[in-house]
């Protein structure tokens, strides 16, 4: 399914939601580029919280001014070399667009260089051992500054945290760039957008729901659209009631923040505090990490180290439950949060986290498992074995007999006193058409069967008597 945040990404600057003032400054800056010579401020920094429209407005701007776009984001390794090869090379040369047409800058044919998440560059040397590819962003900031100094093309840096960009060798950026701040988008504007999306998608909804989603997003348009989409999957109509489906949303908010911290930062001290603030058992938290780890760590080496940390944490959880000694929890916690956090050699662009599918699967299969266990219990009693053994060893064979032999099924239904639901479960989807027959037959034969059995046993007894009689014919010694 198409991601709505991409599908409804604004096509032009005037479609961007909120932040009119910032959009105005951005447009003004872009106009200074339409002359023959580059302006004084050759780069702008768009700073603001996630989901406030920074990347969207940069892309929309390029479209409005018919500029070619080069985008470097967190999914590219942004070390000195990549920035030089792509951004710097692009900045000092004229442009061939993606179709190979020549865009002469004197005729307004610019290329816009977008460096997304520019505050997320790791400056440290973090070359992973034995791996050929270097995913770190080493020396990235220096390369960005140099590029801005010599560029002949417009550059946009996008950051969540302006201070993070300026500190640690980025001071000179203050002088050579203009900062444009993006604020949280107000609820009314988000509601308008959500309503427009619903209209386009032919989904009927009520305003109250949209308002709730918008409020919960706290000015983050992207998360609001994500929330709306996850509510609308497979539905034509949504209302406030549908929100109960995501009942644990508020609690999830905290867990999402915690996950983000684990995956995006390397500050172990911080992570320890977070584990305490998350309102769930550490072993449940582990499930969340495991579920989202492969979605986040796309580089295979990072993923391997991440799983390694997780598996070690799991060993400690095993020891905790085996010895019932909870003093081991801190080791497990540190491994699964700190261990996973330091496993990465770079930052990733992912910002969607999902609840553990294992837990979901468990929840949705609960009724079925209940029936299975009750059948296993009845069967176990009959065979004098534990539920576990009956479930593991007897039930599979039993099901097979039950499905293929209708007389057996009738007899068993009566003998084990199986309910209709249990009978249906045993038949499975393939043989469910036999259900009616079995139920009828079991009812009918309830009395008959007893008779038949009685008759049978009589016959047996008779046989015995006859044999005895035959035996009786053998003269005994006393006959003589």
């Amino acid at each position: 399914m198409e991601d709505w945040t991409e599908k409804y990404r604004p096509k032009t600057l005037s479609d961007v939601v909120g932040n009119e003032r910032a959009l105005g400054s951005l447009r003004t800056w872009a106009r200074t580029w339409t002359g023959e010579k580059p302006p004084k401020k050759k780069a702008v920094v768009l700073s603001g919280k996630p989901g406030t429209g920074k990347t969207s407005s940069a892309l929309a701007l390029a479209r409005d001014f018919k500029w070619t776009v080069i985008e470097l984001n967190a999914s590219d390794a942004r070390n000195q070399e990549t920035i030089k090869r792509v951004a710097t090379a692009g900045a000092i040369n004229e442009t061939l667009d993606m179709f190979g047409n020549y865009q002469d800058s004197r005729a307004g044919g610019r290329k816009l260089i977008i460096l997304d998440e520019a505050d997320n560059l790791y400056e440290k040397i973090e070359k992973s051992e034995g791996s050929a590819s270097d995913f770190s962003d080493r020396g990235g900031k220096k390369a960005i500054i140099e590029t801005i100094k010599i560029t002949g093309q417009p550059i946009i840096l996008i950051v969540n945290d302006y201070y993070g960009l300026i500190k640690g060798g980025g001071e000179s950026l203050k002088d050579i760039t203009t900062v444009i701040t993006y604020y949280e988008v107000n609820t009314g504007q988000i509601v308008d957008l959500l309503r427009r999306i619903c209209r386009e998608e032919n989904i009927s909804t009520d305003l109250k729901l949209l308002q709730l989603i918008a409020e919960k997003s706290r000015g983050d348009v992207r998360s609001a659209v994500h929330d709306l989409q996850s509510l609308c999957i497979g539905r034509q109509q949504v209302d406030v009631g549908s929100l109960d489906a995501l009942g644990y949303r508020d609690r999830e908010k905290i867990i999402f923040d915690a996950l983000r911290d684990v995956f995006k930062t390397k500050n172990i001290q911080n992570l320890r505090d977070i584990t305490f603030s998350v309102d769930m058992n550490p072993d449940t938290f582990l499930l969340w990490i495991v579920e989202n780890l492969p979605r986040e760590y796309l580089a295979i080496d990072d993923l391997i180290r991440g799983y390694d940390a997780v598996s070690k944490a799991d060993m400690f959880f095993g020891r905790v439950s085996k010895r019932q000694y909870y003093g081991l929890w801190p080791y497990a916690c540190d491994l699964m949060t700190g261990g996973v956090a330091v496993a990465k050699t770079r930052n990733y662009g992912n910002d969607r986290y999902y609840p553990p599918s294992w837990m979901k699967a468990l929840k949705s299969s609960k009724p079925v498992r209940g029936i299975r266990d009750s059948v296993a219990l009845k069967l176990g009693r009959q065979c004098s074995v534990s539920v576990r053994k009956s479930r593991g060893f007897i039930l599979p064979e039993f099901i097979s007999l039950f499905q293929n032999d209708i007389h057996f099924a009738c007899a068993m239904k009566r003998r084990l006193n199986l309910s209709e639901g249990e009978t249906e479960y045993l038949l499975g989807e393939k043989h469910v058409h036999k259900l009616k027959e079995i139920l009828e037959c079991a009812e009918k034969t309830d009395d008959k069967q007893v008779e038949i059995e009685n008759v049978r046993s009589d016959v047996k007894r008779d046989d015995g008597k006859k044999e005895m009689k035959v035996d009786g014919r053998q003269p005994s010694l006393f006959d003589f």
Binding site: R85, G90, N93, E94, L96, G100, N101, D104, I150, G152
Partner: protein
């Protein structure tokens, strides 16, 4: 369907001319041969490559696209020695290219080509045309690399000149018309280019092989040459450097 046998040197030639500019490329395969047209990630240069089916020992193909990760492919080609016969086959079900080098079978997953644009050959009027021996040109470019990161190419009716200027050092290569294979121009022309792009473009041509240069004033430059025994042809387009004051 795509099924071909080819000498390793031809494939290495293809990699040599494309991999300096693009990491991933969409090869268009037809019954007549293979072509590729791609713009580099910085949107500065374009490579336009064509290789005829004659360059292959055996060649059978329907019209199709192959999305190839060139870094990976060049790694695989390093397994082959010069003169080795390589068989290529497209496995449609798994979207893989099956590469056989001797007894070695290497299956390489292909990239989805859906998002890759089809570039057109741009319509440019480049009034000057120079044909020059590769060795002459690469000497000048190699010398310039040590001095600066950009060079100026200029041409008038008698000479073709290459000039690079660093902070203290300069390089000047002046070739009169009789040292060139061909020189036709209307008037004087001059353009500025990044050296690393330019040197990547010409580095696979060796010795006396001719390179054709088409240029104008402050316009892109076009560099053309043959490879794989003239059964392959490559044409580069490089956007000029923005002149800073």
């Amino acid at each position: 369907m795509f099924n071909a046998k080819v000498k390793s040197d031809v494939l290495k030639g293809i990699i040599d001319v494309t991999s300096p500019l693009v990491n991933e490329a969409k090869f268009n395969v037809t019954s007549k041969g293979i072509s590729l047209r791609a713009v580099d990630p910085a949107h500065v240069a374009m490579v336009d490559l064509e290789i005829k089916s004659k360059a292959f020992e055996e060649y059978k193909a329907d019209e199709m696209e192959l999305g190839i990760d060139l870094d990976k492919f060049s790694g695989i080609m390093r397994l082959a020695n010069s003169g080795d016969m390589i068989s290529l086959e497209y496995d449609e079900d798994a979207n893989r290219l099956i590469i056989k080098i001797g007894n070695l079978v290497r299956k390489m997953g292909l990239i989805d080509t859906a998002g890759m644009p089809d570039s057109k050959a741009p319509n440019l009027t480049l009034p000057a045309k120079i044909i020059i021996k590769a060795s002459e040109l690469s000497q000048g470019v190699r010398a310039s690399e040590a001095v600066s990161d950009h060079l100026t190419l200029s041409v008038d009716k008698d000479t073709f000149e290459l000039f690079a200027e660093g902070d203290t050092d300069t390089v000047h290569l002046k070739l009169p018309k009789d040292m060139l294979v061909e020189l036709t121009t209307q008037g004087k022309h001059k353009s500025l280019f990044s050296i690393d792009y330019f040197s990547n473009m010409i580095k696979s041509v060796k010795g006396d092989d001719p390179i054709t240069i088409s240029m104008g004033t402050d316009n892109p430059i076009k560099v053309d040459f043959d490879f794989a025994d003239k059964k392959g042809h490559v044409s580069y387009l490089l956007a000029p450097r923005i002149e800073s004051d």
